[in-house]
């Protein structure tokens, strides 16, 4: 559903130097303002991290919509 907004499902993100999870989130919302209405979590290398954690590059970053298992 997030891919529906961005219009693509994979994207290369160039970090200008080191970046925290929170900074990445801000950049995403800047580029895709429609994402502000959506809830999503950020997984870095398949782990949900706190906003203050730095992202080591290269990293696999995923924007995860609300979970619906069950």
């Amino acid at each position: 559903m997030l891919a529906e907004i961005a219009g693509l499902s994979d994207e290369l993100w160039n970090a200008g130097g080191s970046m925290t999870v929170g900074q990445f989130r801000a950049q995403v919302l800047d580029k895709y303002p429609a994402m502000r209405d959506k809830k999503f979590k950020i997984a870095v290398n398949q782990r949900i991290l706190d906003d203050f954690v730095s992202i080591e590059t290269p990293a696999e970053i995923a924007l995860l919509p609300p979970f619906a298992g069950g």
């Binding site: 559903m1 997984a43 398949q46 782990r47 995860l64 609300p66 979970f67 619906a68 298992g69 069950g70």
Partner: protein, 148 residues
């Protein structure tokens, strides 16, 4: 607990059948230390949404992360409760209304551990496993499901 629990395949394609549940139960009758089984089954409801009545859910997952999350939940449950066995199955792909998409099966010598583990595992799955569900309504509509 020193025992190593081998990784198990959780995802199955499409709905989980009652016969599969029966076979799982039957395969535990030789484990005579078990006194209590607790089983949880998630079934797809025909909820009324804006686009119409839900006819099914199409499940996808961020699979590699999901498998890891299931593994972590298994290990935590074995550490926390006195369990003899634990099995978790979740559907991917389309599961029509009325059919089963989640099967959590725990076995223990005594009922308390079985009850508690069953509830713990289901809550953990709902909160921590990156599974996504498109609720299909009518001919072409869909709504993304969100756990609460």
């Amino acid at each position: 607990m020193e025992k190593v629990h081998k990784p198990k395949k959780v995802f199955v394609q499409g709905p989980i059948s009652p016969d599969f549940v029966a076979k799982s139960i039957a395969s535990h009758q030789s484990k005579t230390g078990i006194g209590a089984h607790a089983i949880f089954l998630g079934q797809i409801r025909a909820d009324q949404k804006e686009g119409g009545v839900v006819t099914g859910i199409d499940y996808t997952a961020y699979e590699e992360m999901a498998e890891q999350a299931f593994h972590d939940i298994r290990e935590a449950a074995f550490a926390r409760f006195e369990l003899t066995c634990m099995h978790i199955y979740h559907s991917l792909g389309l599961v029509p209304t009325g059919e089963i998409s989640l099967f959590v099966f725990v076995s223990s010598p005594h009922r308390r551990a079985a009850f508690e583990a069953s509830e713990y595992i289901v809550e953990e799955i709902k909160a921590k496993v990156p599974i996504f569900g498109k609720e299909l309504t009518g001919d072409s509509g869909h709504v993304w499901k969100e756990n609460t």
